[in-house]
């Protein structure tokens, strides 16, 4: 198998959802009025415009909700991707619990999709309603059962804490329910009130109460201990996996390795350039069909910027930054570049350098990663 460094990741953004959730800041639009085939054509056209020389090691189809597309185009997409790229070791698709169709999943599995990421969020019906999700707790259980039946042996769930109205008790219930489903991966993160979302407005107007921060801190702790006991290892600030089932595609992001992002609003980090596509389906399609680039933002980070990004991202992983590897990749010696920051945060017990040449956040530091990361900004 090729090492991650000589391969590239491929991310495809499907910007449709059946209904927009009021907390969500991802770029997605309701699917009712859409013409998915035109978008998929544009996506392949965009992919063709890249001259990808390295083997593609991981593919991730995310959104939005890819699972809101009809089965056939999805299966065709998987098929043609797999026939293009021969070295794909991990192929993930996101799936909404309400949209797990057994026949489609079985086909996708057969055409090479080998990992399913299910947006569960909570096992509490009231919380799901608050979040505006279209599925019930039951449907999560159902979706996992269908996925397993369809042949998936690498399934991940997304769980969210700090949902308005949640408590330590409901959170434990969600965690336990997730663990009981015997999935291989859990993404656990807190609800962030994003600017310009209906949630932000509701909070501002006092119609939505955020969870008390002491409670939220307790939730974070509970997740760690409960999941550890259930056989999961934390490998990133908000990610846990049964050892061996860490998400290879997302690890590329935290190692600052190249990923080509295709589709509206998708971001790429490829050949030394960071680019972002227009966050507008119609514009995206129009530009691609006219043979133009869909990028709306592009910049080439300086070597120092790359070194800074790599450090900030690398610290998110519990194993930390592999310092010799870091030097090879960025050309900078981590300790020399960020000596003051490392000294300061080691002193406060938030950061440590290990005997095997890794620099990482301590258990305590994981809770203050942003505070630490600020000092790795140049």
């Amino acid at each position: 198998m090729k090492s991650a460094h000589s391969t590239v990741g491929l991310y495809i953004h499907i910007p449709y959802c059946r209904k927009k959730c009021p907390y969500c800041a991802f770029y997605s639009v309701p699917i009712d009025t859409a013409d998915p085939n035109r978008l998929i054509d544009a996506i392949f056209a965009e992919l063709d415009s890249y001259d990808i020389t390295e083997p593609v090691g991981t593919i991730y189809i995310g959104g939005g909700s890819p699972s809101c597309l009809p089965g056939d185009p999805l299966i065709e997409m998987a098929d043609s991707l797999m026939s293009r790229y021969r070295n794909v070791s991990e192929f993930t698709m996101e799936c909404n619990p309400a949209q797990a169709d057994e026949a489609t999943l079985r086909q996708l599995r057969a055409f090479g999709v080998n990992r399913l990421s299910i947006g569960a969020q909570s096992f509490n019906a009231r919380e799901l309603k608050t979040l505006g999700r279209i599925h019930s707790p039951r449907q999560i259980v159902e979706a996992v059962r269908i996925a397993k039946k369809g042949g998936f042996e690498n399934i991940g769930l997304d769980l969210m804490f700090g949902i308005p109205g949640s408590s330590a008790k409901t959170w434990r219930h969600s965690l336990k329910s997730a663990a009981a489903l015997k999935v291989q991966h859990l993404s656990v993160y807190s609800l962030t009130i994003e600017k310009l979302t209906p949630f932000a407005r509701a909070v501002r107007e006092g119609k939505l109460a955020v969870v008390d921060e002491a409670v939220e801190r307790g939730m974070c702790k509970a997740a760690r201990s409960l999941l550890r006991n259930a056989g999961f290892a934390q490998y990133e600030i908000s990610n846990f996996a049964v050892p061996g089932f860490e998400c290879q595609h997302n690890i590329r992001y935290w190692k600052n390795l190249p990923v080509v992002g295709i589709g509206p609003a998708a971001a790429s980090w490829y050949q030394g350039k960071r680019t972002t596509n227009v966050a507008d389906v119609a514009k995206y399609i129009k530009r691609i069909e006219a043979g133009r680039s869909a990028q709306s933002e592009a910049y080439i980070p300086s070597p120092e910027q790359i070194a800074s990004e790599s450090a900030v991202l690398g610290l998110r992983m519990t194993q930390g930054i592999d310092m010799p590897e870091y030097q090879k990749q960025t050309g900078f010696n981590l300790v020399r570049l960020f000596g003051d920051a490392i000294k300061k945060h080691s002193f406060h017990g938030l950061l440590e350098c290990t005997v095997d040449d890794h620099c990482r956040l301590t258990e305590k530091g994981l809770s203050y990663a942003d505070t630490v990361a600020q000092d790795f900004i140049l």
Partner: protein, 604 residues
């Protein structure tokens, strides 16, 4: 450029003085235009306001002079104009300018009427012996009430209607009549051309390439190129390498005669070598009596500046030294605070001046500074009978060793509307001001004179006054003396450590209430940390209240994938920038706002 010598009787020297924004610099524009000093093409608004900060803020900070030539009824006249700042912080610039002139144009905005600095500047003009012409400006405005304003000027400052000229500096209306009046009504300088040289230094500035440029008004004899001169108070001698006039751009001349205004360049290295108000005389044939000089400007507020962000002490010192090269009116002395380390204690003419210095410091030198709340200076008498001046509450010795604390008292003049009198009186009362007199300027406007503690009126008083009077009130103040009162010191402890830079001196009757309120302000201004931070307030060494800053909210549970990298980096960068203006004390980062929060006198 016309260089024919102009006889002394055909010279007119005058300053333009007014309340802030009444149109001095705009009038200067029009006069330069009418006299042909500048062409229409060269014209830009408030041309003499050439510093970046002046143009940005739209105010005059430094006085500037221009020499113009104007032919009236076939005779050529030389007019030397000095445009002055209107803001109270820069009064000393007005006094200096007036001392170099025989006349003054007192500009009054026809839509605003007489305001506090109108009155203050009239006093200055009268004291300097200048002949005053009233200029009622902005008559083009729909809200202009020239007749009412003329009445006010007559009533308050004793300038009669005949001595008043209604004009619009914007449209140029009435400017020709004003020019004629300048020639016919303002006196020419006295002819003392046969005496030894005596020239008054009324300003100076440092030029990067040419060294120090000295602005002079020749009262006796003349200055010539290559003349050997001496500065009477410092005793230093120089050889004049260049003489010139601002027309308005620097134009070299061979000599500057009696009654004229111009500049001198003479190989002077440092601004500090020149004393404003000093007399220049001839080295070989000196005058025996120096010209009357000026009082040096008085520094009213003090504040400590510490290096912030990535700036270090030597870099900050270098920045101050550079700034001092062309502003001699602020002071900076090294300071070592137990809590904040090495920095500088700085003295300023007022809050605007302080703001300007801080802005120039950061902007022109790329340094980050952390500044403590401004304070006035105090005079203390210790139990051993010694009196001492302190510029910071942190210098106050142990209360047991103090006999009395004296604070600066000023004469405060407020001009406001009749209906706001009640509100103004309540505010003044609240700030320990004593009413001396009230005088009606007209049925709707009054002038109130107070004796006021400077510390009570120098920070937010003006804003409050504006609020109470719906923007109509204006104020001016002048230092009187130091007077004793029942003053105590309030100290704050952050995480158990006393922070001297947060200490303040207040009147005993207000101390406890103020201390409690500020403690809450401080709690809000200091961000959360990884640990709880106790805050305490002490009066006379006794803790009277306590607050706690809760520990951090977790900051990292959000997920981060590919698309967010750029956004995340930007966010972190912004958070980091926010920390630049913080100072760590012990393990606690205290932001700039916290230091300033102790000035806040509002209720919540």
């Amino acid at each position: 450029m016309k260089t024919d010598p102009v006889p002394i009787k055909n010279i007119r020297n005058f300053s333009i003085v007014a309340h802030i924004d009444h149109g001095k610099s705009t009038l200067a524009d029009r006069l330069m235009e009418r006299t042909g000093a500048i062409t229409e093409r060269q014209m830009k608004e408030q041309l003499l306001d050439d510093m970046d900060l002046e143009r940005e803020r739209g105010i005059t900070i430094k006085a500037s002079s221009v020499t113009m030539y104007y032919t009236h009824q076939g005779t050529q006249y030389m007019l030397n104009l000095i445009d002055t700042p209107g803001h109270v912080d820069f009064h000393y610039e007005v006094s200096r300018s007036l001392a170099a002139c025989e006349g003054a144009l007192l500009v009054v905005d026809a839509s605003q009427g007489v305001e506090a600095q109108t009155v203050a500047n009239t006093y200055l003009a009268v004291e300097s012996g200048c002949e005053i012409l009233g200029v009622i400006n902005k008559i083009d405005l729909p809200a202009a009430q020239p007749d009412r304003v003329i009445e006010e000027t007559e009533h308050i400052i004793g300038i009669t209607a005949e001595e008043c000229f209604p004009i619009s500096a914007k449209t140029g209306q009435g400017v020709n009549e004003l020019l004629e009046a300048i020639i016919t009504k303002l006196p020419a300088p006295e002819d003392k051309s046969d005496k030894p040289t005596a020239a008054l230094i009324y300003d100076s500035h440092a030029d990067e390439y040419r060294g120090v440029i000295v602005y002079v008004r020749v009262f006796e004899g003349k200055l010539t190129k290559r003349q050997k001169i001496s500065f009477m108070s410092s005793g230093k001698t120089y050889l004049i390498t260049e003489l010139g006039k601002f027309t308005p751009y620097a134009t070299p001349v061979e000599e500057i005669g009696t009654g004229e205004v111009g500049y001198v360049i003479a190989n002077i290295k440092k601004l500090a070598d020149v004393t404003i108000g000093d007399t220049i005389t001839d080295f070989t044939d000196p005058t025996d009596k120096p010209l009357p000089g000026y009082q040096p400007p008085m520094q009213m507020v003090f504040s400590d500046f510490y290096p912030g962000g990535t700036t270090d002490y030597p870099k900050l010192r270098a920045a101050f030294e550079k700034l001092a090269l062309n502003d001699s009116s602020f002071s900076f002395t090294p300071q070592n605070s137990p809590a904040l380390g090495f920095g500088f204690r700085c003295g300023f003419l007022g809050l605007l001046h302080m703001e300007i210095v801080q802005e120039r410091l950061e902007r022109e030198n790329d340094v980050d500074v952390l500044q403590t709340a401004p304070t006035v200076s105090y005079e203390i008498v210790t139990t051993d009978g010694k009196a001492k001046r302190i510029d910071s509450p942190s210098e106050l010795p142990d209360m047991q060793k103090i006999d009395e604390i004296r604070e600066p008292i000023v004469k405060l003049e407020i001009i406001t509307t009749a209906e706001s009198i009640g509100g103004v009186m309540k505010l003044a009362d609240d700030r320990r001001c004593k009413l001396i007199k009230t005088e009606y300027l007209s049925p709707t406007r009054v002038m109130m004179e107070y004796k006021a503690p400077l510390a009570e009126i120098v920070y937010d008083f003006y804003d409050q006054l504006k609020g109470i009077s719906h923007g109509y009130a204006t104020m001016d103040y002048e230092f009187l003396s130091f007077e004793k009162d029942k003053l105590v010191k309030i100290d704050f402890l952050v995480n158990g450590t006393p922070v001297d830079a947060l200490s303040l001196i207040v009147h005993r009757s207000k101390a406890e209430q103020r201390g409690r309120r500020l403690l809450i302000k401080l709690r809000r201004a200091i961000p959360r940390h990884q640990f709880e931070i106790p805050l305490q307030v002490c009066i006379g060494g006794k803790i009277i209240a306590r607050e706690t800053i809760k520990s951090y909210r977790k900051d990292v549970t959000a997920k981060l994938y590919g698309g967010d990298v750029t956004r995340k980096m930007k966010l972190l960068k912004k958070q980091k920038e926010g920390k630049k203006r913080m100072k760590s004390i012990g393990m606690v980062n205290i932001p700039q706002e916290a230091f300033m929060s102790i000035l806040d006198t509002s209720e919540d």
